[in-house]
Subunit: 279 residues, 2 copies
């Protein structure tokens, strides 16, 4: 045995932030970037401890399994295994940069597994963090638009959370929703296939869908799939506030572990990245 | 014990790529992005398994310790501890996105610790990967410029590797080197303090330094600090090939684990990201 064995990291590294990535890979990366961007730090050593595990190969797409669990491969066990590993490297809180995976039929099993195994790592729910960010950014808004996968829309994932907080949701009509879904999953121009940079078509579809929701009364629009901010990173479109679910999750993860390091929201919005792919 | 206990990931996830990040945080993120960009994949599930551990709080700056180990806090033990954790989550190969940390006085201790502890995880040396990329991109080049931290320049880190491969190195004169060092470490405009987006000044200093090396005969220039590509992501400047040390390491990590998934170099260069911060 080497004399280097068993030298532990100091205690503050036990308060690390875990990211269950790979859903998709670039969305996981975007959450890590958001964690760094939302942290008050001017030297390397002031940044927070973060672990990203991005093992996409064995995590099937969430949507088909949520729709028909008996007919599709399950993402539950691989996701639980990655959460265990995040817990094992010292993470005290974790987030999943995939809105769709927060459907109760899936997310509840993940939380239950952590609890059954007696693990102390806390798992945040992305919709809770989105609702908190809406309340902070647009406290008077009543009607909120939702852009998300068809799976999330059909399950009313965000709608239920908004209604519980006293707000109303509006969602795209079927034709626009089909376009939003394609902007994520289309094999040639969707964000799962091309996100660095995203295609102009994906971006155009999403901006059009946001305008469509505004016409139905939306006072703000949730980018309720973590792929969407890859194409639309800016905090508003023609004055309509866009609620970035990745940023919402990042801010909540920092608040849960190192609240004094959280960048003020106004600074964060002012510094939001320029458009990734100008049309 | 829960019935979910001890369900392992399938074997291919044991061949994951580890990233010892936090040196600095954005450079670690840039390596993960490079790993995704350099992979042939059009669906989430086709991407490679990657773990990033970014725990910067306890990893002191490498340069002062390398210069005077008895007077500065050591980065060795925290880095070893992170390598252990990468090994523990199933990584078969790992990279360190920090050129300076590859000085023999530091890097050799890391490799020795892995070997002493009997760990099978392979640790690549970034200079080896840079030399390989030079040989692939500009096989006839004889004189190579080096942009790096003053620590790496003083230790001749890249020079020694270039000479071993039969090439000659040119480095900046003292005044230009001081500017390059400031572009990394300056508290107000350096890349450690501001890299998303980088400041125009940091970018201008680096482009000027590359031109300065070309005047001394450089046929290509190594961006030999992983912070530098954050300000200069493009593959060439005015026709002068820029050798991105982060991309070099990413391609070598993929080649070491999943060679059939490595994107052809020509495609990679053609798709290089646009300038992050136009001047």
């Amino acid at each position: 045995m080497s004399p280097l064995d068993f030298v532990p990291l100091a205690p503050n590294e036990q308060n690390a932030i875990g990211v269950l990535g790979g859903l998709g890979p670039y969305a996981g990366l975007d959450l890590v970037r958001a964690l760094f961007d939302e942290t008050l730090a001017s030297h390397d050593q002031e940044h927070l401890p973060v672990t990203l595990i991005s093992y996409p190969g064995q995590i099937p797409d969430r949507s088909p399994w949520i729709a028909a669990p008996e007919e599709s491969p399950s993402p539950v066990l691989p996701m639980v295994e990655i959460l265990r590993r995040l817990d094992g490297v010292g993470c005290s809180v974790a987030g999943i940069p995939c809105n769709t995976a927060h459907a109760p039929v899936l997310f509840d099993q993940l939380r239950d597994a952590l609890e059954l195994e007696g693990r102390s790592m806390q798992l945040l729910h992305i919709v809770d963090t989105i609702v908190d960010l809406i309340r902070e950014r647009v406290p008077d808004a009543q009607t909120i638009g939702v852009l998300a996968t068809t799976s999330s829309i059909e399950n009313r994932l965000h709608e239920i959370g908004l209604e519980a907080a006293g707000m109303d949701a509006v969602v795209p009509d079927a034709a626009v929703q089909a376009e939003v879904q394609a902007s994520i999953f289309d094999d040639t121009w969707g964000l799962k296939a091309k996100s660095n940079p995203p295609t102009p078509k994906a971006r155009a579809v999403l901006l059009n869908a946001a305008a469509h929701l505004r016409e139905q009364g939306a006072e703000a629009v949730i980018l309720g799939c973590t792929e969407l901010p890859l194409a639309v990173p800016e905090p508003e479109a023609d004055g309509l506030p866009l609620i970035n679910s990745t940023r919402a999750l990042a801010r909540a993860l920092i608040r849960a572990t190192h609240p004094a390091k959280l960048r003020p929201l106004a600074d964060s919005l002012a510094a939001a990245r320029p458009v990734a792919s100008p049309i």
